[in-house]
């Protein structure tokens, strides 16, 4: 294993795939300068300006051009800089990319990766901190990926780039510099829809994903030190998501806690609970709880922002409440 960071793991994955497949290319703002976060550092020098394309701040066309280029047989990585800016490209994403394969009866192959660094970024306020991945799980036609660590970032990016589906890839931007490890040698693809079984236990099942995972694991370790062993799943992809793994765990524990950084109301946690009730029946589930952000925009001032964040202490408290 090699020590690295999440952002570097992602960079190495893109580098590997661009060397492997000459039809893979990147378009987005500032990517020729390495990207806002360094995800594409050094790539302009290796691949040139036709494959590392710095674009105007023109999200509609960044998104739509990526689709057009896919329709003639290339595999674009569409870099959105920050998730929040995808709102300027929603027609191209929702009406075009997600629909063309279906609407044209299978003629179109929208093989794009849309990278959207999302979530909290310290004190960046309401337009630079959002987590709306649930919107896209609701959208037929796309795969929704939300890794939490370097190894998954790399392996899932490889899968995303090779996929013929449009893949919405939510990089956890609060974790860009988090240290991690990736395997030596070629980065292997990680399949969509397979959760990471991050902690093992029988007391309750905790399901989570993306930037909040480290806090959940901290909480799980604290709970374990108190003798409460949680079975923790990092979903890694929320469409498709690993219903089999969650259901198998829940059959043992009977208690479910879903933790996400996104607003709790209408979040993907609700879908997970509903799906499990449908699948296992209400009698198999003693408790099903959600822990997410309050339904307020993300505020700026540090103490206010902390009100929105899901701290390990909040997770511990929610887990204990689920055991009552």
């Amino acid at each position: 294993m090699a020590e690295t960071t999440l952002v570097e793991a992602g960079r190495l994955a893109v580098l590997q795939e661009m060397r492997r497949d000459p039809t893979v290319w990147v378009l987005g703002e500032d990517v020729g300068r390495g990207g806002l976060w360094g995800q594409y550092r050094g790539m302009l020098e290796e691949f040139g300006a036709t494959r590392i394309v710095s674009t105007p701040i023109a999200e509609s066309t960044i998104m739509g051009a990526g689709l057009g280029a896919a329709l003639v047989g290339t595999r674009p990585i569409i870099e959105m800089r920050m998730f929040d800016f995808v709102m300027c490209a929603m027609d191209e994403l929702v009406n075009q990319i997600a629909k063309v394969r279906y609407m044209f009866g299978g003629q179109a192959k929208p093989a794009v990766v849309v990278r959207m660094p999302h979530g909290m970024w310290r004190n960046s306020a309401a337009q630079h901190s959002q987590m709306l991945e649930a919107w896209f799980a609701h959208l037929p036609g796309v795969v929704v990926v939300a890794p939490s660590n370097a190894e998954d970032e790399a392996g899932l990016l490889v899968s995303a780039i090779r996929s013929d589906d449009p893949v919405l890839f939510f990089d956890p931007k609060d974790l860009w510099t988090a240290p991690g490890q990736i395997a030596d040698g070629e980065i292997a693809p990680i399949p969509f829809g397979k959760a990471r079984h991050a902690r093992q236990g029988d007391a309750l099942t905790i399901v989570t994903w993306s930037a909040i995972v480290p806090n959940v694991l901290t909480a799980a370790d604290q709970l374990a030190s108190e003798g409460i062993k949680a079975d923790v799943f990092d979903l890694r992809t929320i469409w498709p998501w690993d219903q089999d793994a969650v259901a198998a765990s829940l059959k043992r524990t009977g208690r479910l806690l879903v933790v996400h950084e996104a607003v709790e109301v209408g979040g993907f946690g609700a879908e997970i609970i509903a799906a499990m009730i449908d699948r296992l029946g209400p009698s198999a589930i003693k408790v099903a709880k959600r822990l997410g952000a309050p339904r307020i925009p993300v505020p700026f001032a540090p103490p206010l922002e902390d009100e929105v964040r899901i701290s390990p202490a909040k997770v511990v408290a929610a887990a204990k409440a689920a055991l009552k």
Binding site: T50, G68, L71, T74, N95, Q96, G105, S163, F192
Partner: protein, 334 residues
């Protein structure tokens, strides 16, 4: 020599080429007349946007395209598809939502696509095709193809952001795109001039850095000649160009829209500028036998009636097919 259309005859000397142009226009007109009849008979569900009076533009532009050139279209795209080489009978199947249609009944009139002839799809969102077109051109360039992309859109699209973004994009990357603004003067149900500032589409394009010309889009010879020249420039690596083709939509926005707000005299005046009648006059003047023109019209009528009848008799797609072609990973099944 000037033709009745006021066009220098240079591009029009090839009688075969002009006859083909005429045939394409007549097929578009007849396709839509037949579709409208079927719609009124209750055979075709959903919205149907016809383009009576605008036929010279797709026919004239596509006359100079290669099979591997790509085209993006809009909601009023039957003519674009036919001119690019799509099959009328398969289009009817799609209009009817039947098995074997271009989209297997998933798209209908607003989403006709035939990737096998480079027709990358009609689009239900105004200006939706512009970003896709420039990206297709960028992809073709990356693949070292010398195919080009034609992007068809209406005057209404020039008030949406993607018009600015996509033209700027095509110019900065010097992409092989011919933008074609079919200016029929009406954006849905509103006269475009009442909601548009400035000098119009060509001025906007020129200001962005995409050389544009305004032409009479109801003059088939002018359209064909202008498109041939600009397509040559685009294919030669000259970067994007735009044609602003002025025309007039005889019908309402959709098949159910009578456009009763319009002065009927305006519509009647527009019909005197019918592009098909104008090219017909040119062809007769140049010695094409009237019987040949009748034959073209009759063949088109026969083709379209056969397409209509076959579509009306075709089966619906299987219900299970509603779940096909959504996505590979995470697909759901009925």
């Amino acid at each position: 020599m000037a033709t009745p259309g006021g066009t220098p005859a240079a591009a029009g000397d090839n009688l075969k080429r002009l006859t083909d142009l005429y045939r394409t226009m007549v097929r578009i007109r007849t396709f839509e007349e037949t579709a409208l009849e079927a719609y009124k008979a209750g055979e075709i569900p959903g919205p149907l946007h016809v383009s009576f009076g605008q036929e010279a533009i797709p026919a004239g532009v596509c006359a100079s395209l290669r099979h591997d050139d790509r085209l993006t279209s809009n909601h009023r795209g039957h003519g674009h598809a036919l001119a690019k080489g799509a099959d009328a009978a398969t289009m009817y199947l799609e209009l009817y939502g039947r098995e074997g249609g271009y989209c297997n009944g998933k798209g209908g009139s607003m989403h006709i696509a035939d990737f096998s002839v480079g027709m990358l799809g009609a689009n239900g969102v105004v200006a939706g095709g512009l970003p896709i077109a420039v990206g297709a051109a960028q992809g073709l360039k990356l693949l070292k193809s010398d195919a080009i992309v034609v992007c068809m859109f209406g005057d209404g699209a020039t008030n949406r952001g993607p018009f600015l973004e996509a033209l700027n994009w095509a110019a900065i990357y010097s992409l092989p795109v011919l933008f074609v603004c079919e200016d029929n003067g009406v954006a849905a149900h509103t006269e475009t001039r009442t909601v548009t500032a400035g000098e119009g589409p060509a001025a906007r394009a020129n200001a962005i850095g995409v050389p544009a010309v305004s032409i009479d889009g109801n003059d088939p010879l002018t359209v064909e000649e202008t498109a041939a020249r600009l397509i040559g420039e685009v294919r030669g690596g000259g970067g994007p160009r735009m044609i602003h083709a002025r025309t007039y939509r005889w019908s309402g926005h959709t098949a159910t829209d009578a456009a009763a707000w319009r002065d009927p005299k305006q519509v009647e005046a527009a019909k005197t500028r019918c592009p098909i009648a104008r090219l017909k006059a040119v062809l007769i003047e140049r010695g094409l036998a009237p019987a040949m023109l009748d034959e073209i019209a009759n063949a088109a009528r026969t083709e379209m009636l056969a397409g209509r009848a076959a579509a009306n008799a075709a089966p619906w797609p299987s219900l299970a097919s509603a779940f096909d072609d959504v996505q590979d990973a995470g697909a759901v099944h009925g």
